[in-house]
């Protein structure tokens, strides 16, 4: 890329008096904006001609890495391919130009589509009702926990304020519980990474009357299926609590088994993961919450609107283009791909928990640690070879976690080339460790100083100018 001309910020390319925009035709008429709501001085917007803007953003986009550019095995994030038909459907003008406050009788088609999506999700999860208001996964978790809290309160059972969360859970689980005003009780994992049922029994025996719910991700954060799930669900139900399913890892279950059948009462789905809508960089997401029959009356008020509709449309397009038969292949293929990579690399990367995984698995760094090459170095070196790095240093159960999730879409050729590169890096760690430790070398920007970025973040042009003045 041409860093010299276009690696600048758009503000730095600004020249007073240049114009590169044209406003669309006014459809709504002219209205006087009250003086109290008008700006008192001009917005500090960059002034650039159209060509400069086009080159600037095109060059920036060339520096981006997306699932359309290459393999993106970012564990726990399910970066599956987003089929282009989804985008076509979501950009249909009759859907795109809707207003969230439009009268109901003018959006009957939209409502029919939402109803279709609800029925499809119910069929796939074994639950009875969904609300589409939550805007993302963590918002869904909060909505689900508030639903559970409302349910307990409605029965006058005010003592149930504790939520059991496995120590391997995603950080959002305890965070959502805390925001909901609930207390987190951690249940231990066994050496194979699954929930320690004996520890759970102890918690239930000691605090059963105070348990509002247990939150679980199945398969769990290590990509392992919780085999004791019927026993766990029974323990929680018998003490009066509800079972919450974190849909973060729903992908490998798709078409194979259903949270509703495993004994879960409430769940959220990350449409942007399992149902192939774009994500990364903060959205737009969608985290619909599903419940067992009877719990729908306890859905809380979390938004006056009805969620990110265009994300829901994309999920509908995905479900309809696969159809009832093909969608059953999603989970098994995601599982097959992950196991294929795991088995092909476990002789050179440390696999702490051997055995079948689901859609993802975790290595604990390189097998040969004597070279001093860390998981961070391996991740950076992968960028040199044109791959997005896997998730690193999560989960916290291991020191050198390297979490790989290939998703179901990738061809055997892609998996084989990734495996070859991972093996090559393991070899380089022995023969040229310094080259790996100083990677990446082939990217527009080399190894970034993440300590400085964390301690001294500069995220606006104004802050950058202020910072320069200080120096």
């Amino acid at each position: 890329m041409n860093n010299r001309l276009y690696g600048n910020l758009i503000f730095e390319l600004s020249k007073e008096g240049r114009r590169g925009y044209s406003l669309p035709r006014n459809h709504v008429g002219n209205y006087e904006i009250p003086a109290s709501m008008r700006r008192t001085k001009d917005a500090e917007l960059p002034a650039c001609d159209e060509l400069t803007v086009v080159r600037h953003y095109t060059n920036l986009s060339n520096n981006n890495f997306g699932v359309d550019t290459g393999f993106y095995p970012l564990g726990s994030c399910t970066m599956k391919y987003n089929p282009k038909i989804n985008e076509e459907m979501a950009s249909l003008p009759k859907f795109q130009n809707l207003h969230p406050l439009q009268p109901d009788n003018t959006v009957l088609g939209v409502k029919a589509l939402v109803l279709f999506l609800e029925q499809a999700l119910c069929t796939l999860t074994g639950l009875a009702h969904f609300t589409f208001k939550p805007y993302a996964g963590a918002h869904g978790e909060l909505t689900g926990l508030m639903t559970i809290d409302n349910y307990h309160r409605s029965r006058g059972d005010m003592a149930r304020k504790k939520v059991i969360v496995p120590d391997s859970a995603h950080g959002t689980n305890p965070a959502s519980a805390a925001v909901c005003g609930l207390e987190v009780v951690e249940v231990k994992s066994m050496s194979d990474g699954t929930v320690d049922v004996d520890d759970l029994k102890r918690i239930v025996a000691e605090q059963g009357d105070e348990i509002a719910a247990m939150m679980m991700t199945n398969p769990n954060t290590l990509g392992l299926f919780e085999k004791n799930i019927p026993e766990i669900a029974e323990l929680i139900h018998n003490c009066g609590g509800l079972m919450y399913y974190d849909g973060a890892n729903l992908n490998p279950m798709l078409g194979v088994c259903r949270p509703g059948d495993m004994g879960f009462d409430v769940m959220h789905i990350n449409l942007h993961k399992t149902f192939s809508t774009p994500h990364g960089g903060g959205g737009p997401g969608a985290g619909p919450v599903g419940v067992r029959e009877g719990l729908q009356e306890f859905f809380p008020f979390v938004s006056p609107y009805n969620g990110n509709f265009c994300v829901m449309m994309r999920a509908c397009a995905y479900i309809l283009s696969l159809g009832a038969e093909q969608i059953k292949n999603v989970g098994p293929l995601a599982t097959l791909n992950a196991n294929y990579i795991k088995e092909s690399l476990k002789d050179v990367y440390e696999l702490p928990i051997d055995g079948l995984c689901c859609h993802e698995f975790v290595f604990d760094g390189l097998k040969d640690k004597s070279t001093g090459v860390t998981t961070m170095d391996v991740a950076k070196r992968l960028l040199d070879y044109g791959y997005h790095a896997p998730t690193i240093y999560f989960p916290l159960l291991f020191h050198e976690s390297l979490m790989i999730e290939p998703t179901e879409n990738e061809s055997k050729e892609t998996l084989d080339s990734f495996i070859a590169v991972m093996r090559k890096i393991a070899e380089e760690a022995k023969t040229h460790p310094d080259e790996v430790k100083s990677a990446p070398h082939n990217t527009p920007i080399g190894r970034v100083d993440d300590v400085l970025a964390a301690k001294h973040p500069i995220v606006t042009y104004r802050a950058m100018k202020n910072d320069e003045m200080k120096d």
Partner: protein, 128 residues
């Protein structure tokens, strides 16, 4: 190999406790510092806050992860290490020199539940 110092007490969550009379000086161990990597932020309690053995009193954030600080003993905070506010990386330079809080301990018997240097060294070895 992580450094372990004789004469200190250690918790399973990798905090150390140095006892000077009724005063307990609390920080994270060299093992913890190494596992966390570059520390970028330390969240500390205020002076006069009460801490309870086995519960969280702050957090250490590194480029890899944020990790709760668990107090090895109960008591009242009498001093926090303010130099960590501007220079959290001091913990990486010397975790034992750069303590996090000092507390006036309320129950000396709690020390019995902590590990000594030999036990902690063995505990760290097991973690690998």
């Amino acid at each position: 190999m992580a450094k372990v110092i004789e004469g200190l007490f250690y918790s399973e969550s990798h905090e150390y406790l140095k006892v000077e009379g009724k005063i307990g000086i609390i920080g994270i161990t060299d093992y913890a510092q190494k596992a966390l990597g570059n520390v970028v932020y330390v969240d500390m309690p205020d002076v006069d806050d009460d801490v309870e053995a086995g519960t969280e009193f702050g957090a250490v954030e590194s480029v890899k992860a944020a990790s709760d600080l668990i107090s090895p003993v109960s008591g009242t905070v009498i001093e926090v290490n303010e130099s960590l506010e501007d220079a959290p990386e001091l913990i990486n330079q010397d975790a034992y020199e750069n303590w996090i809080i000092k507390v006036e301990m309320s129950d000396i018997t709690e020390l019995n539940k902590l590990m000594d240097a030999t036990a902690y060294e063995a505990f760290c070895e097991e973690q690998k």
